[in-house]
Point group: C2
Chain length 321, copies 2
């Protein structure tokens, strides 16, 4: 008999959905007991329980990001699976929504209405623009497919994978860069990133928080973007050098920024982002975890776990995603 | 030798593009002369020149809407062709942009940012929503295709055509309605419209200005929309009963309206639309006529005209589109 603990703000809803599936040999525990071998929930809540779960053998997260659990100092003696494939549609809506708000000048036109100004100046289009995706996993692939639907050119920057056919051109760090911390390899990575970013109309980061992605969006990368470029971050706040981004906006080196994720969340009220010009923010809401979608992953994975087979969406602790 | 007159705010740009195509047996006139047999341009400018063009045999418009020329009192002794196929992509961007602005609450979230409020309430999605298209010609078909890409359900209301495979269900007035002005047939049309509109999340009008479309969006139609519904008009302002629309918004019978077109353009500053709550407007800019795209249509049509063959996109003066 497996014992499951649910650690989530929506635990009640998840419990009902899992009970409804009548999974064999599974009981759902209401409190943390030493016999629990499966945990389902959000990484930040699970992290604090790890020390009290001696029998733990599988964790299924409700999120795609798992950085709270891949910290090298934390235990890694269990199977970690995350949620994938379910966020791409929502994140694509978010990205396209803000790209269109930018191109169609919907905030400026709202101001025109307020001043009763018949402002019939032409607005822009997505057609023919070039979008660069930092990170092309299952979410990036869906953003790429959506960008292609709107007739954009699509570039992708990934560690090494080239799985989406909707990316026109891929860019990667050299292999030696991945395996070394030397100054030379950092320069090689910077060169690959700069070719990737050069001339982009839109830069979108969908990167997870790993040792290889920290502050990848830095002053050097921002410097090669055209002044009309828009940057959107729906991945993790850690991928951005915050002061470099603020400088780029203040100096009009780029046209606009849309951030859904931040180094610290909720963002402290004293943070300069709140009032940086041409910076628009949302509050880690670009792609909420919908309990029906996430529970489906658990229900698919449970029989595989029960039979000792490889699970879907296993996280590589070394890669941190 | 054919003689062409260009009547457009962008006449200079069109002239260069047409000259570049080196069309045979064609001279471009700079002033209105009696020998002119072809006119290319915007209907409102062409209308005023009609009386001074005794040799006129073909008019190619730069717009899709041609109501300035289909007025029953005006002459109809020439071939009228309009611009089609070129606006669908831009109008789809507009519609999807405002639908996403609505679902993702981008104006509310901008206010949250201004008040430094970490507002992480869930926002909505297009997935699974039902959109109703009033008018499904080449523009409507492209909006339908885009709606399907975002996994919406699509209804279409047309006179009788069912040409887009991206429409899940079509609604039509009965044949007798089209041929009669009787009270009964008006009621039949209202019944078909109400089935079409009932329960829609989004209503989008792409209707041309004809005798059959005037005030089709009236109090009865608005009454069957759910209170969370959004109405977008990218067709013609004449399709809307303005005071019924303002009442529906003031009484919260629908959630929002986005208008790009109006009975009178530019909209007079004293018009109540400017300040009606939950009404957002743009200024007949949802799909600008891009000279490269429009000129292509003229260049394709010219040899057909020259050889006396049927032209592309001929307008039926009776139907008015």
């Amino acid at each position: 008999m497996h014992k499951l603990l649910i650690l989530s703000k929506e635990a009640g809803q998840y419990r009902l959905l899992i009970e409804k599936a009548r999974l064999p040999d599974l009981t759902i525990e209401s409190t943390l007991t030493p016999e629990i071998d499966i945990v389902f929930g959000s990484p930040s809540l699970i992290k604090d329980a790890l020390a009290s779960l001696p029998a733990l053998s599988w964790v299924q997260t409700t999120s795609a990001g798992v950085e709270a659990l891949t910290n090298p100092a934390a235990r890694r003696d269990y199977i970690l699976t995350n949620a994938r494939e379910v966020f791409g549609g929502l994140m694509s809506e978010y990205v396209i929504g803000y790209l269109l708000a930018h191109e169609r000048k919907i905030f400026e036109l709202q101001q025109s209405q307020l001043s009763k100004d018949w402002n019939d100046a032409d607005t822009g289009t997505l057609r023919g623009k070039t979008i660069g995706l930092l990170g092309v996993g299952s979410i990036g692939a869906e953003v790429a497919r959506t960008a292609k639907f709107f007739n954009m050119n699509v570039r992708g920057y990934t560690r090494e994978s080239e799985t989406s056919k909707h990316v026109d051109k891929y860019y990667h760090p050299s292999k030696s860069t991945l395996e070394s911390d030397s100054l030379l390899s950092k320069q090689q990575q910077a060169a690959a990133l700069q070719s990737f970013a050069s001339g982009l109309d839109y830069l979108v980061s969908i990167l997870p928080n790993t040792k290889d992605t920290r502050k990848i969006v830095d002053a050097n990368l921002l410097a090669v973007l055209p002044s009309h470029a828009l940057f959107i971050n729906v991945g993790r706040g850690s991928a951005v050098d915050e002061s470099a981004l603020i400088d780029a906006l203040n100096q009009n080196k780029i046209a606009g920024v849309v951030l859904d994720v931040f180094e610290q969340e909720p963002l402290p009220t004293e943070h300069p982002y709140w009032t940086t010009k041409n910076l628009m923010m949302t509050f880690h809401t670009s792609a909420p975890s919908l309990p029906e979608d996430i529970t489906k992953i658990f229900i698919e994975n449970y029989p595989l776990f029960n039979e000792g087979k490889p699970l879907k969406y296993e996280v590589d602790f070394e890669r941190e995603y």
